[in-house]
Every structure is written in structure tokens, then in C-alpha cells.
Symmetry: D4
Subunit: 215 residues, 8 copies
């Protein structure tokens, strides 16, 4: 287990992690953490490592891009003084190119995306650990234009993670493996938002990365 | 224009045509025809061919397969005495193989699908015209397993149409052409249910087939 | 086709164009454009002229008069920097005289109406094209007091359009022709707000005016 | 006053009288009578003729034609043993010709309409008084096709009333007079369903006919 | 008829006149005037005196006392520049003594009530006519403590009206006469808020006072 | 305490006891007993006499008259095999005479009322105790026509109770005493349905009658 | 009876007393006091001591701790000028330690709790009487960690009460006695929020403490 | 892994497994399986053993006792032809003794409970595996009356399982271990219905029992 006892684990991201979490900070009883992967990760932590006392906090917000995260970084990351930070972002940076093809002023290029990620690293001090959770598409055809661009941003995030000594958590790899057995339409209507099985898959992938469980 | 004046044009199918149509028969004022392509087709008929007085009737039902259509054929087709009949079916025959992979008792094989279509032809007498509207997937990758199976059913419908002298309306071709310019995620969350642009595209494709409009 | 590629086409008007459009600016996915004629026009543009990449934006607001448009002209027209502008206004300028006969302080006279339209022209710079979309009433009796006053405003708009080299789109003519075949009660409860067929008719009339389609 | 004391006054008709009345019989406290003219008539009877003790009962049903009334005549008229009967019907017999132009199997011709009214007279025994309340359209243009057909049915009802010694209550005349001062759009969106002023106008016209009030 | 043509008739009061009126000023189409007596009065004015063109405006607010009226007098009376003003107030001044017996800081004494009414007269200039509409209770037992106090306030209003040359409209007398024939429970659950018959009764009483109709 | 241990106490009546009780039989957890006096009585029994284990069951139904009770006596009384039965009925037998003055076929005369009560006694065998809970009106003026008729039915119930050796619980006396201190409008809008204080007053009056508590 | 006539009795606390009370101050008609014990206490006061005219006011707020009370003490206690004050607080001070074990910044220690209570005493002047209503848990196992900590806070409140000459009302004792006969699951899902029987039990316990009733 | 490939795994039980599952049989996409442990178990099966193709079906129904299960055994177990059956029942058999202490006709004794379980075994033929999932209470105090009775039924189920060669899955042991670290109020309001962490804990316990995962 790579996390220290009694530490705060903060997750910031987009709708994948939001799923109805409480505002301003999602945590605690009832639906505080929402119904997405942060809730499942919290459950796994309580069941598999109750002695660690890890406190999961969720500040994911639907629709956010890497640019939007930076705009709320002070209140939603710095002020909360996390010990560990997980950044799950990028899908919306890409998606808008395809579902809103005329609104080019809201597009985030891969260069801007990488720069935004680097800026997040630069302005966040005192972390005990930093996790980059990759963008993904539940689409196995790598020639699909949407998937191809996701792969580009995925690789950009990986590069930022490596350069800064952060951990890169590859959700695309996890989903690709899963879809060797099932078609994506069994998990998601839009190939982005997972069903509960997908959230468990994401949470397990993170739990593996922090050493809580093994394959 | 291939339709005779003052005739009834009946559309039977699945959720693509349903979109909130009235029960038991969708037609007439307000939301009677629903908000899908039958409504748009009715509008095009009124605007482009008001002198024909074509009466559009909609008995599409969400979730239906070719098997489900046959089960309600007497009340929903025979009893309504249509002059022209359009059959839009097949997507659910295929979809269940992928989104409900364990429920094999509800799968319709391509052989059963073709046989069902043939049976529809055999038991429907006195039509002035019969239209088969193809299944489709808003997916341009022909190697995608879902798309590949759709293509198989699409071809099976085409064969039944040809064999019986019916008109085959190729929606897959229409969508494929459209997606040369846009990615499918701009039109649909699930690559099956169209947005209003998609419904207009379908209605225009039918209007072309019945000679009401030209390209 | 009279529109240049990759340009913005902005529609400002009243409830005919509003029909649930998003705020502050209606565009993009889902119900952003509302369910009225701007949505249909966007669909026709995508289907018939995908290579042009025309971006439709909708700032129509229910209940607005020409006076109300001017009050929000800066934020809703100037700030959005449209390439093409379509102004659909006038019905409420007239209607209030008949449905609220005692509230004379909210009436807009035909002189004020014409002056408001001229002011819109004067303060809007840099357009590549300007379209005036006429007021109308789904009433074929030209002696009806409401219709007679609509005709007066309709002609006033036409004069402003001609004087300023703008295109005048005559919806009244389009509806009058349609109602040679159908009674207005088949399209509208209040002879103002169209059903989907009416919105398609309006969108087609605009599409004809911009040279996208031909009769 | 032409009604006998402590008698039952039953109103059967369409949506004009329905307006939310209770089922199976609308009467009594709260919203029992609905919010249309039967409620207002009951109020006028209580205020102007409390000593008569007239009991108003409402069995009007939205959408009904003369044919539909006959189908429920036994339960809704005969079984209720009214002393006085008021029949308000005919607008839907006409309206469907214009708003549902293709559904000709639901049209009621003027001959069938007159025959239906005569049948109502023939099968209803023991009345102390019978009132025919005319169909109308809030449209002053007598050349309008809808108004013209309404006038035809209006005259047909008048003829049936005269032939059978019943009282004919001419709502069209009452509305025409009112619209010398106001345009119909000030009273109704669809020129059929009145606002509260219209219901008061109808109720007063009936109250005049039964001699409860004078002009 | 005592009102001049084309004048504004403003009604200020409590829940008896409110009944869902629009904010900030209730008037015009649809439910603008609410469903209480102001709506009925407007209907009577339109039907019986259309040539007068009287504009009814409603600023009654549920729960108000004479004190509450004064607090909004500037915006709701002075600023609206009425020609005629009708003040319907007092029931809540009394009612609170009985239904909230412990909250004495919200009670309005009869002296304060009279002073409030006088102040309304003093600060309102330029009226063509002023009407005081009396408080009432649908209770015929004059020894009932609630009724007895209502009578006291009723008389206080009458005195203010006489002293200032205003017209006093006695609703209590109108209701008392009505309840010679019916028990109050047939008109109201709480003996304060009328059913539609009660609103018609109030509107007729006002119409009589302004000379629009005669008994 | 007059009730035997571990016995069933069944309450049948009208809306006073109904107040949202569960169907078919109101008892047990949550809102099973409703929110009226049966719920309060159950609470008093649990707090003051937990050792008795009395099971309260509620079959009161809004709007019921003595006649309506008899129609469901088999299923709602006999079949439930109560040890003790409390009958709270009569207000609706009277009320309809005043709030629905024209619907005389639904009136229950005092003779029919008394006969209905006697019949209840006659057909119910094997009770350990029978309680008649009096009708009442929250009106202190005994000359009020409604109150006067309530008193008549109240006395009729008392006579039936005395004749059959049943206990008569006088709610009117309890309310009259309470209203020496408060006006009825502080407890009820319609002088029939109590607020929570009224339900506690009723429950206490019953608890006194069964000897559970003393004044 | 220990309360003086015509005095104000203010209750401040947490969700136990809140139960839907009105804002900003809960009192008076309808649901003003909420549906919890303050409502029942008000009813008992009206029924058992109407001559005292005690005015009950409720400013309990769900979720509050002793710390939260102090933050609104000026507006919710001082400004309301109570004669008697009842403080019902402490459960949330304890509960959070168990249901939100990671959010230690919101925990209130027993020392801070006692200090908060003392501060309430210190800053509240001019009371005729002060009541401390104890925290409790509907759990009879004193070794349960939650119950054990409640007991600690309960004793701390008792000590503050004694030290300051205030009355201590021991709800835990009242509940413990009740649960000799019933299991806590019959009264509450979460062992904190009472059902109506529990609220009656609390109100009676307070009524006993103020000498209004005797056992 | 103890389950054979491509087999059906049917879960029958009470509200713990119900949690909104579809009717008549919960399975498949969306919320078919509900949001309780059957959904989580299905996710674990798909992620950890996709090659097994196990089909999870859920026929748990809120409120059911062992007696209620038997009443629907034919339609909900036999007719569905499961390969593996998991029976999760008993909490309601016990709970009613404590939350509905007077309704003894609905209690299920431990003898009847054991007999019911045995009958389930006897009438179910052709299973490849049978799992008994134990009742539990999230209460660590074994002297608590509710917990003590749960333990009794838990042991009875274990005995039936052993006697019949079925697998016994001990949820009580799993929860007891979990509550060494957390208080039950952190997981459940009523100590019966788990939060998502509890459902994951149950699903994992079952997954361990079927050999899908190891500790």
C-alpha cells in the first residue's frame, strides 16, 4: 500500500467522477461522493484497508475540461490541502471537437491540454503523491477519429506524468482489455459514461495503482 | 410522385419511428405522429404535395424486433387497411446480441429476421406499394462487430425486398454519406437514435424513394 | 448558395424562433437551438450543405417586440459578431393591439416599428448579409383587423429591407400559399405559433432565400 | 322565470361545458361543475333566484360530437331524470373537417348532425323543458370555411329546435355582438374555448333564455 | 354608469382579490387578474359596458392588512396612476386576533385600522373616484366574537368613507342577504374565502355601486 | 384501565380518524395509522400503558356517513374480530344538508342515523366493549343551523349508546370547553377537521373514557 | 405550573425539534411549529393550561451542533427576547464521530460542548427560566460506543445545568424506561429521530418538568 | 472458480437484494438488477471472470419473509430454471417481532423459518449449486434482543445448509469483522439496509464463496 495512514485523497475531474457528488466538496455519508468511481474507490479502501483511514474527497464536475479545472484549482485543490491528488481529465477537451464541430472557440488543443496539466503540477505544492488518470473512449477502433484524438491526449498526459514523476493510471488499457470480452454498447450508451461495472473497473484500476489490491 | 392520391401511408417499426407517437395509432394533430421521422415525412408531404392528400399513420413501437412486429401485425397493419406500407425494423434484432450478451433467448438470427420479413410480405394483401426501410448504425467502421452484423441484416432485408418487388430504402447509405462530414457523436448519443437532423435525413430519404422530392 | 463558408448565421426574433432555445445563446447539441425553425434550418444546412460549415445561432425570445429586440441588441447581436443576421419580428408589435386592447402603453405603432428596424440596420456593422423575415398571421381573410394590421407591418418591413439592400423573406406569402390547401386550424391553435410542419415551411422559405435549396 | 321550483337542470355537451367537471356527474361543491359556463350559470341561479332551488348538473365531455352524445345518452341523460335538458353540441362535428382533414371516417355531416339531434328529442321523455345551445365560432368572417360550416350546423340545430318546440339559444349571435367591440383573440386562443368572460357571456345568454334575468 | 370612459380602475386588497393574480400588477390576458372577483368584475365590464373601455388592474395580495397596504402604497397605487381606486381590506386586521391569539405584535386595532384607511385617502391625489369595499365574515351569528369584531371594523371603514366622500360598498350586507337562503358552509370552508359564486356576488355588488348594472 | 391486556381496539369512522391511514387496514409502523387521533391514541397507550399491549387498528374513511359504514361493516369490522370497537360517525350525515343543499338523495335523516347505529350494535357480536364517539362541530353558537342539527344527531347517538349499554364519548363537550379559551378558527379552517391539538384533545378524551388516564 | 402567564417559551435545538418548522421562526398556525415535539408541547399547553397563554416558539434547525447554535444565538435567541429558553442539543456533536469518521474537523469534543453550553448561559440575560434538554440515543446497550459517548455529553450538560441553576430534562432516562417495553426499532429507523410516539414522550417529559402535568 | 461456464445464477431474497430491480425478473442493462449487491456481483463476475459468461438474475422483493418466498417459488425459481440458486432471506422473519410487536399473526418462528428453508431445498430440482446467504444485523452487541434473534435464525439457516450439502455464506461474520473498524451508523440508518460499501462487501463475500476471487 503506497498511501500513508490518515491522509486525504482528493479526486478532481469531469463527469466520469461527478455522477451527482455533493457541492462544494463531495464526501462522507449518503450520496456525498456521488455514484461514480470515487464512491467505489472509497468502498474498496474501507473494505480492504480500513486500518489506513484514507479520506476520499471528490471535486469532479460534469463537462469540465483541463482549462476549467485550472479555473477552480485554488478553491477545489489548493484550499483543500490534499495529501494525494488524482486528476481525471481530458475527455471533454477532445469530445467537443466532434459533437460541437462549429464551436471552435471552446476546443482545447493537445498542446494546451499538456500545458494545462503541467501547470497543475507546477502550482500544487506539498503533495505526497500525484496520480494522472487517463482519458479514454469505450471504442476499440483506433482509427475512429474520436478514439485517435483521445489516444493523442492520453499519450500527452502520460508524458506529463513521466516528466514529473507522477503515477499514470491507464484507463484506456483497462477498458480495451475488458472490451475483448464485451462490446462497448453493453457498458455505455455514449461510449464515455460507464455503467456501475465500468465504475468498479475504474476504481479497481486506481486501487491497483495505489497498491491497495493486486490483480 | 409514386403514391396515388388520397391514400393511406402506414409506417410500422421500432423506436426510431416511435418517439412518443400516440396509441393505439399515431396520426393527426399535435403529437399524434410523435417527434420522429414519420412526423417529418408528413410535413414534407403536406408542403411538397398537398394536392395528393396522403394520410400518414404511425404504428412504430420502441424496442420492437421483427418478431414483435409479427405479433401485432393483425391489429396494427391488416386492420388498418393501408394503401402503402413502410417497414422499418431490424436494429433491435441485432442490438440485443451486444448490449444484453447473456440473454440469448431474445436474440433474432439473420435467418429468422429474413423469414419474419418474408412472412410480413406473405400475409399482407392488397397493398399498392411496399417499402422496406433498412436497419443502420451510426458507425462508419464496418469492422465494428455491431456494424458488421447490422450490415448482414441490412443485406438480408434488401434481398427480401428485391425478391418481392418491394422498394428498399437504404438508410445506412444515407447516414454513411452524412458522416463523411460529421462524426456520429454529433448526431446521436448511442449511434442508433437520431437527433432532429437525423430524422429529417430519414424522412428525406423516404421522400426521395416515393418520388416526392428529388436530390 | 449565397452564404460564405464557415460563417455565423444569427437569428434574432420572438417566440416563433424561441421554442425552448438555450440561454444566453441557443446553439449546438441537444435542445440548444430549441424546437422551432432555427433547429430545422440548421438541419437543412447540415444535410444539404455540409461543406459550408454554417454555424446557426438562435437568440429569439418569446414575447419580444421590435422595441424589446433593440434593448438587447448589444449583447445579443453586436457582441456575438455574426456574419449573417436574420431578424424575425413584428407579430407581437401588432398582436397586443388585439389581445390586450386596454394596455396601450405597450403598443408599437407601425411608424415606431419601421424606425426600430431601421435602427437595427444602422447600428449593426460588418455584416456579410442581412435578412428580414416577415411577420405573418395564419389567417387568410385580409379584411380581418389583425391580419390587416399584420399586412401593414409586413409591408413596412419590406420597405426597410428594400431601402437598405437587405433580403426580405416573405413568410406570409408562404403561409397563404399553404392555406390554399389546408385550413389554418390544422397548423396552429392561435394562428401564430406553427406546428412542426409550419416550422419546416419557415425553414425551407429561409433556405430558399439563401440559395441552399430550390423549389 | 320559466323553470319550476326544485327542479333538475341537466347540461350535456362538449369541452365548452366540461372544463374539468367531476365524473361521472359534475355537480355540487368545489370543482364539481368544472370552471366553465355551467358553474357560472349555477352561480347566477343561486344569486338571482335562490328561492327556485334549481339543481344544475353537468355531463359535458371534451371532444364529444353529436354522435358521441348519443352513445352515452342512457347513462348520462335518461338515467339522471332531468326536468330540464340543455344540449350544447356541434363544434366538434365541424372542427374535425378542418383540423384533421385526412380522418374522414370521424366526420359528422350536417345531415347526420340534424338526425342525431332529432334522435335525442325522440328518445328523451318527460322533460319540462328542452334547450338547444348553438355551436359557434369566435370568428366574425362569415366567409371563413370553418365559420361557414358552423353556421350551417347552427341553422340545422335551430330547425330541429323549432320543429320540436324546444328553445334555441343562439350563442353565435351573442358572440358576434360581443366581437363588435373586441377582437376574438382577446377572448380565446383557438376561437373555440372561451376565457372566463366568454363563459359568463354564455351563462348570461342561457339565463336570459330561461327568464332568470333580463338584458 | 358612474365611471368615465377609458379610465383605469385599480383594486388593492388582500387574498379575497388576489386568487393567483400576476405580479407585479395583475391585468390583461390569461390569469393576469387571478380567478377572484377582479376577474369577474372585468368580465361584467366588458360584457355590459364594452363602450366604456374600463381597464381593471389588480394589486391585491394574500395575507395583507391595512398596514401592509400602506407599506406598498407608493409602488402599487401612486405609481400606477389610477383614475378610480377600490380598497378591499380589513379581514386580516381582525382574523389574526382569533387564529394567532398569542402573536399580539401583529394585531391591528380598530383605531389603527381607521387611521390607516384615512392615511390612504390623504396620500392619494387626483382620483376620479374612491371605493371602500367592506370586510365581511360569512357568519350570520352577530354574537360570534370574530363576526362582532368584523362588524366593528366594517363600521369604522364606513365612517372613513362617509367622512371623505368616498363610496362604501357593503359586502357584509350582500353576504348576509345571500345566507338567508344558504348556509355559509355551502360557499366557503373558512367563512372568508368565497367560491366562484361568492366572487360573482362581490363583483355584482361592485358593479351595482358603480352604476354598471341595476338589481 | 378498562381494557383487557393484549386486545384489539378497532376504530371505524370518517375523515376525522382517516387522515391518511393505510389501506385496507391502518395500523403499525410509519404512517399506518394516519396522522389523526387514532395515531395519538396509540401513542398514549404505548406511553401510559405499555404493559397492556393494546393493538390499535384504524378503518376510518374520509367522507363516510353512518350508511357508508354499514356497507363495509363485514370486511372492516366483523372480519377483523375486534375486542373493542369505537364508532366515530355522524358529521357527514349532517354536513351534506348544508354544503350540498340540492343533493337530497344523499342526506341521512336523524331517524336513519339512529337506526344505522342500532344496526351496527345488532350485527356485531362478541365485543368486550363498545364506544360511541360523538359527532361535533367546532362552533359554539348552538343556534347555528349546522350546530343545531349536529346536536340532534349527537343526542341520538347518546340515546343509542345508553340503550345498548355502550360508552358514549362526548367530543362536543370536550371541544365546547376548549373553545371557552380559544376561537374555533385557531384550530380548524372548516370547523370540522382538527389541527394536531384537536387530535390530541380527541385522543385524550377517549383515553379518559377507557380509564387509561385521569383528568 | 412553573411558567408565568403570557410568557414566551423558546426552544432552540437540532433536527429533533425542527421537523419542518417554519423559517425564520416557527410558531403559530398550520405547520409553523413543525411536526416534532414543540408542536406537541404547544398542544399540551393549550389543552392543559389554556389560562396561562404560553407562546411556544421553535428555532430548532436540522443538523446543528452546540457550535452551530452559538453562531445564530443573537438572531435566534437574544433578538426574540424569550422569557423561558429550552436548549435541546448535543446529538450531532457526538454522531459525527461515528457516521463521518474521517471528517475530524467537524467533531465537537465534550470539553468544547460543555464550554459552548456555558457560553450560552453567559450571554443570555433576563430569562425567567432555563431548561437543558439532554441528548439521548435510542439504544439500551450502554457499552455501545455511540451510546457511551452520548452518556458522556449527557452528563456534561447535566453538570452545566446544575452549576448554573438551570433545569435538566433527562430524555435519555425517559427513553430508557420506554424501551423496557419496546425495542428501539419500533420507534425509530436510526435510533435518533423519534416517531410521533417519541415526540409525545419528549413533550410530556418537558411538560412534567415545567409542572404542567404530573405523572 | 466453482461455477460452470454459461450458467444462470439466480438470487432470490428480500429488500437487501431488491433495491429497485426490474419486474418480473431483474437482469440485463440499465437498472435491471437494481442497485444492490446482485448488481455488484454481476460487475465482479464480468470484470474478474468474463470468460465464464455467468448470467445473474435477481428476483429479490422488498419486505419478503421465508414464507413469502415460498409463495412465489414456482414462478420466480422453478420456472426460471437456474443452474445456481442463492437464497438471501430471514431478516424480515425476525424484524417484525420488534418493529410491529402487536401484529403476531405475521411473525415467522425459527422453526417455521427452518422448515421453509428445507422446503425450498426439497422442491427445487436440478441445481448445480445452492447457496444460503445468511441474515445479519449491523449491530455488534450480541445481547441486543434483535441481534440475538437474528443469530438464532442465522444458525438455523446454517444447519439447513449443512444438512443439505449447500454452501452457507456468512454475511454476519463479514459485517462483524468490518465493524471492528467502523460503527454501524457509518453504513446504515436502520442497521439492515447497507450503503454501497455494504453491498460491495456482500458481493465480495459471495464472490469469495464461489471461488471467483480470493481474500
Amino acid at each position: 500500500m503506497k498511501l500513508e495512514k490518515n491522509s486525504k485523497f482528493l479526486i478532481i475531474g469531469d463527469s466520469i467522477g461527478d455522477f451527482g457528488r455533493a457541492r462544494p466538496v463531495g464526501e462522507g455519508l449518503h450520496a456525498g461522493l456521488g455514484t461514480g468511481f470515487p464512491r467505489v474507490l472509497d468502498s474498496i479502501l474501507r473494505i480492504k484497508g480500513p486500518e489506513y483511514g484514507i479520506r476520499v474527497m471528490n471535486v469532479c464536475t460534469s463537462g469540465d475540461t483541463s482549462k476549467a479545472l485550472l479555473e477552480r484549482w485554488q478553491s477545489d485543490v489548493i484550499d483543500l490541502k490534499p495529501d494525494y491528488l488524482a486528476i481525471e481529465i481530458g475527455i471533454n477537451d477532445v469530445w467537443r471537437h466532434f459533437d460541437e464541430p462549429y464551436r471552435n472557440e471552446i476546443f482545447i488543443s493537445v498542446e494546451e491540454y499538456a500545458a494545462n496539466l503541467q501547470k497543475m503540477v507546477d502550482i500544487t505544492k506539498g503533495l505526497k503523491g500525484l496520480y494522472f488518470i487517463s482519458p479514454y473512449l469505450m471504442e476499440t477502433n483506433k482509427k475512429d477519429a474520436f478514439r485517435a484524438m483521445i489516444d493523442e491526449y492520453h499519450d500527452a498526459m502520460k508524458a506529463v506524468a513521466l516528466k514529473n514523476g507522477a503515477t499514470f493510471i491507464d484507463l484506456q488499457a483497462a477498458f480495451d482489455k475488458y472490451f475483448e470480452h464485451f462490446h462497448p454498447v453493453s457498458m455505455s450508451w455514449d461510449r464515455v459514461h460507464p455503467d456501475p461495472t465500468g465504475h468498479l473497473l475504474i476504481a479497481r484500476t486506481i486501487a491497483l495503482a495505489i497498491g491497495l489490491i493486486s490483480e
